[in-house]
């Protein structure tokens, strides 16, 4: 194959991969927005996102303004491992109570249902 043709083919493949990665990120951002609506209203000036990062990880991100007008945030990450759930919040590890695990279960089911209907109904 001539060098020029190889180069064009390689660039095209790269562009496809970039487009795919960008679309994947966009889909996740949209899911995070939908996921943030599962837990009720957000505090004024706040923001909430909840999404599936990969097959074993779920993320809940919350931002709010405290009583002193300071901007606060908490990023909670749930890592699912064969021997249990590991939760880290702003880098600190915490226990997951049974109630929290059950709430998470409900949230995941609702999440799947919502994104299926609102984002992926044309393929899922």
């Amino acid at each position: 194959m001539p060098v020029f043709k190889k180069l064009v083919s390689s660039l095209s493949a790269q562009k496809d991969a970039q487009r795919k990665a960008e679309l994947y990120r966009k889909l996740m951002r949209h899911e995070a927005k939908i996921g943030g609506e599962l837990f009720g209203p957000v505090r004024p000036g706040g923001r909430r996102e909840f999404f599936c990062l990969d097959k074993h990880t779920w993320v809940w991100h919350e931002e709010w303004v405290d009583q002193n007008g300071q901007h606060q945030y908490a990023t909670t990450r749930y890592d699912f491992r064969p021997n249990g759930i590991v939760k880290s919040q702003n880098g600190q590890y915490r226990n997951v109570s049974h109630q929290e695990a059950r709430n998470l279960r409900g949230a995941m089911l609702m999440y799947r249902e919502r994104i299926k209907n609102e984002l992926y109904s044309f393929v899922a």
Binding site: Y24, H98, R102, R112, A124
Partner: protein, 137 residues
């Protein structure tokens, strides 16, 4: 094009076959959905092992109230040969923590904060019971 929305298994629906036949944005979307779907399934399995979900949990009586004599309203009526009476349902739901076993008076624990309230309920129950016995006689 393979109809990926065809839910009939006899038509040979295969999500991976469907995936192979998708291109571009559709394929990426479908891949993402499959990832989420698999994540939900595997995470639910772990949660259920870690914190089994209680499908039905019978309400527990408040502390201090003896529930050993709790019977259902149907059972109570059957024992007493009582007829259905709207008034008899007052404070006598099957899940009520108050014992309605006719062989024993309602067994109430000594929970001070609720003593007056419970006493009121007992009086009302006694009134209804007496009225029903009069009517049945």
């Amino acid at each position: 094009m393979y109809d990926i929305q065809d839910p009939n298994p006899e038509h040979g629906f295969d999500k991976y076959e469907a995936l192979r036949q998708l291109d571009g944005a559709e394929r990426t979307s479908y891949e993402r959905f499959l990832t989420v779907n698999e994540a939900v399934e595997s995470c639910l399995e772990i949660i259920d092992r870690f914190a089994p979900v209680v499908v039905e949990e019978r309400p527990k009586p408040p502390v201090g109230i003896d529930s050993s004599n709790v019977v259902s309203m149907e059972e109570y009526r059957e024992r007493r040969g009582m007829r259905q009476d709207a008034r008899s349902t007052i404070n006598m739901q099957p899940e009520s923590a108050i014992s309605m076993n006719p062989e024993n008076n309602p067994v109430i624990g000594t929970v001070d904060p609720y003593a007056n309230h419970i006493e009121g309920i007992m009086n009302r129950v006694d009134q209804i019971r007496e009225q029903q016995m009069r009517e049945a006689a």
